[in-house]
């Protein structure tokens, strides 16, 4: 009796294996189909002996699917915890190393918490190829599960919304970080109804970093009072921990540019003096 690896179940983008091909197994573990019914008419090749010599389970698995996602790993980890025969057959450390990760408690905790997120988010995390560090915040919510179920619900709704709006990886990770921290701080999230994910991320940043935002606003208000030469303007921008001034000067030709630069120089000297 062949046992299926659960990593292949319930995936929006399943581990597709052409129908006409024979399936692969390793010992009693079916590697290329989510269940017995899809084993291509029952023709299954055991990779335990391999074609060029014996293979270990993780090697056989990686030769069928060379790039495993975190979700794949999470499901394998879960199954190996539930089924001691898989834990015995699978060299978990080697498998994880092949995926460019280090096995250890910090990884398995992230994997376990990923499996507790909404299914839509799990799929999004797989599509966007999130790394464990992108998912660290999940661990902070684990400890809130018993204490504040409502908070966790709001968090899960946020994760669900990320997936629903097909947010890009970088914006999605930013929204998770900012939104998650705000929730854990006991703050209300700004509403996310029709805004784009990018717009929502900016709103979150404003609420998460109020002092930085206020000082930027105040500086920009100040700039508005300046007597700018015609067709020139300026604004303060935050770059890392610094505020930098950006000045824009439009001029039809070099002579005019020189004149405006001189005016700008006197303006700046007046402000500093």
């Amino acid at each position: 009796m062949l046992k299926a690896l659960k990593m292949l179940e319930n995936k929006k983008a399943p581990f597709l294996w052409p129908e006409a091909w024979p399936h692969f197994a390793w010992g009693s573990w079916l590697l290329t189909a989510p269940s017995e019914v899809n084993t291509g008419g029952g023709r299954v090749i055991d990779l335990k002996e391999g074609f060029k010599g014996p293979l270990e389970l993780h090697q056989a698995l990686l030769s069928c699917k060379p790039k495993l996602s975190l979700l794949d790993l999470a499901r394998l980890w879960q199954q190996s915890q539930e089924d001691p025969s898989l834990a015995q057959d699978l060299n978990w450390t080697e498998l994880v190393n092949h995926c460019g990760l280090r096995s250890g408690e910090s990884l398995t905790q992230v994997l376990e918490s990923l499996l507790k997120t909404p299914a839509s988010f799990q799929t999004w995390s797989e599509e966007k190829q999130l790394a464990p560090r992108d998912l660290n915040l999940l661990l902070s919510f684990e400890s809130e599960k018993d204490k504040s179920p409502d908070l966790v619900k709001t968090w899960e709704n946020l994760l669900d919304k990320l997936a629903e709006t097909s947010t890009s990886k970088s914006t999605g990770v930013k929204i998770m970080e900012l939104g998650g921290e705000l929730l854990l701080m006991g703050k209300q999230l700004p509403s996310w109804s029709h805004e784009s994910p990018e717009h929502f991320a900016r709103d979150l940043e404003r609420v998460r970093f109020p002092l930085s935002h206020q000082s930027l606003e105040a500086k920009n208000q100040e700039l508005k009072q300046w007597a700018w030469p015609s067709r020139s303007s300026g604004r303060w921008l935050r770059q890392g921990d610094e505020l930098l001034m950006e000045i824009k000067i439009l001029a039809p030709h070099g002579e005019e540019l020189k004149k405006r630069l001189d005016q700008m120089k006197s303006l700046l000297e007046g402000q500093n003096g």
């Binding site: 280090r102 250890g104 408690e105 910090s106 905790q109 560090r133 660290n136 915040l137 661990l139 902070s140 400890s143 921290e181 854990l184 701080m185 006991g186 998460r208 970093f209 109020p210 002092l211 930085s212 000082s215 935050r238 890392g240 921990d241 610094e242 505020l243």
Partner: protein, 401 residues
């Protein structure tokens, strides 16, 4: 004489606190005959001790989980250090102004628990490690001393392990103070958040030992510096050291923004100014919260978002560390600096781990140009030291090759 009663009982209390703190003590058999191993064997109950041939928990490598990190603080491992003990101050990097300061590491990990601790992004060992071959470290220093001739130098000891929080166990202070008695032009600095000083108060010294405390308002200590001595205990320990002719210094570092920061830091300055005179302290340093982005997740998980450190508005600085916005740092530094200057212009306050830009906006001068601070920033000495270090390494290599 009148003092000896309470002093002995305090140092005994400090020791007992540490014996209680550790769940397990692993001693590498190779360190068996070291004074440290022998002392720990005599102090700890047998059921806490275990002799080992290699580092315990070998399966834990690389990044630790927050639980593993927390557990590592309660498991002591004694082994030999193989490598160079003596390192330059990590702040001395291009783009950062830093004091002329060199670091000697005799172990790694700390028994205390600060929310911002940089060890959270740095350590990858599941045990608090102490090195049993301090004698070799001192030999390294002796060799360097020879190459340096008459140069003066400050040697710090609290980079990867607090200088004094484990000292009642190790008594490393005794060996170091004895060594520095013979090199009076060198300065030894212990940097701590503990108040464990009683164990060395009677050790003779040449006046070249500085005991420094990182201090923060009590509200910050309570919220962000678990397991450390209270502000009052630190200040009392400083007074005691001063009374024994030891030099003392304070690092108001890391300053942590919180809604009542002005009141709390004003009260801190007032307390220091009320209890000490500028002449009592060779210097006082200021620094603001900063940490590596990689440690954020662990900090969040371990201390939650109610922590002022985790709530901080942190942005990446030029060196990649997360810092408060520059304008906020300047406001915080100026506030403390001005408060000290209101008491006396003689307070020698400098900024540690800050960029030249921050220095200039706070002092309008580079560190080396501030009269009272110039001796701390003798670049010539730093250069000489680096050369000496290279020479000594080259000698070692050619000798072993």
């Amino acid at each position: 004489m009148a003092e000896s009663g309470p002093i002995i009982s305090k140092s005994q209390q400090d020791l007992e606190k540490l014996l209680d703190h550790f769940d397990r003590v692993y001693i590498d058999r190779k360190s068996e005959n070291s004074p440290l191993a022998r002392r720990l064997e005599s102090l700890f109950p047998a059921d806490k001790l275990e002799w080992v041939d290699s580092r315990p928990h070998p399966q834990i490598r690389g990044e630790m989980s927050s639980g593993e990190f927390a557990r590592s603080k309660r498991q002591l491992y004694v082994t030999e250090f193989k490598g160079q003990f003596f390192k330059r101050c990590p702040g001395a990097k291009p783009g950062l102004a830093c004091c002329n300061y060199f670091v000697l590491n005799w172990g790694q990990q700390c028994d205390m628990n600060c929310s911002y601790c940089y060890l959270q992004s740095f350590l990858n060992s599941p045990v608090l490690t102490l090195y049993s071959n301090l004698d070799q470290a001192l030999e390294e220093l002796r060799q360097l001393g020879k190459s340096l001739g008459e140069q003066s130098l400050r040697v710090g000891t609290g980079e990867l392990v607090d200088s004094l929080s484990l000292d009642p166990l190790t008594l490393f202070s005794h060996e170091l103070m004895a060594f520095f008695r013979d090199t009076p032009r060198w300065t030894l600095e212990f940097k701590t958040k503990s108040d464990f000083v009683h164990q060395f108060l009677d050790v003779p010294h040449e006046g070249n030992v500085i005991v420094s405390w990182s201090i923060n308002p009590q509200a910050v200590v309570e919220r962000e510096e678990q397991g450390t001595a209270s502000l009052e205990q630190r200040l009392q320990a400083a007074e005691l050291c001063l009374s024994r002719g030891l030099q003392i210094a304070f690092h108001i570092d890391p300053m942590i923004w919180h809604p009542e920061w002005k009141e709390n830091y004003a009260a801190l300055v007032d307390e220091v100014a009320a209890r000490f005179r500028p002449g009592d302290l060779p210097y006082l340093s200021l620094g603001a919260l900063r940490f590596q982005p990689e440690q954020k997740a662990m900090m969040r998980e371990r201390f939650g978002m109610k922590s002022w450190v985790n709530q901080g508005e942190m942005w990446p600085g030029k060196d990649g560390k997360l810092r408060y916005p520059l304008e906020l740092r300047q406001e915080m530094f100026n506030f403390v600096l001005n408060r000290f200057k209101e008491y006396s212009p003689e307070w020698k306050v400098f900024l540690c781990m800050e960029s030249p830009e921050t220095w200039l906006s706070t002092y309008t001068k580079a560190p080396q140009q501030v009269d009272s601070l110039a001796p701390l920033f003798d670049q010539g000495v730093s250069r000489q030291f680096r050369k000496a270090l290279k020479r000594s390494q080259a000698d070692t290599n050619s000798a072993s090759g």
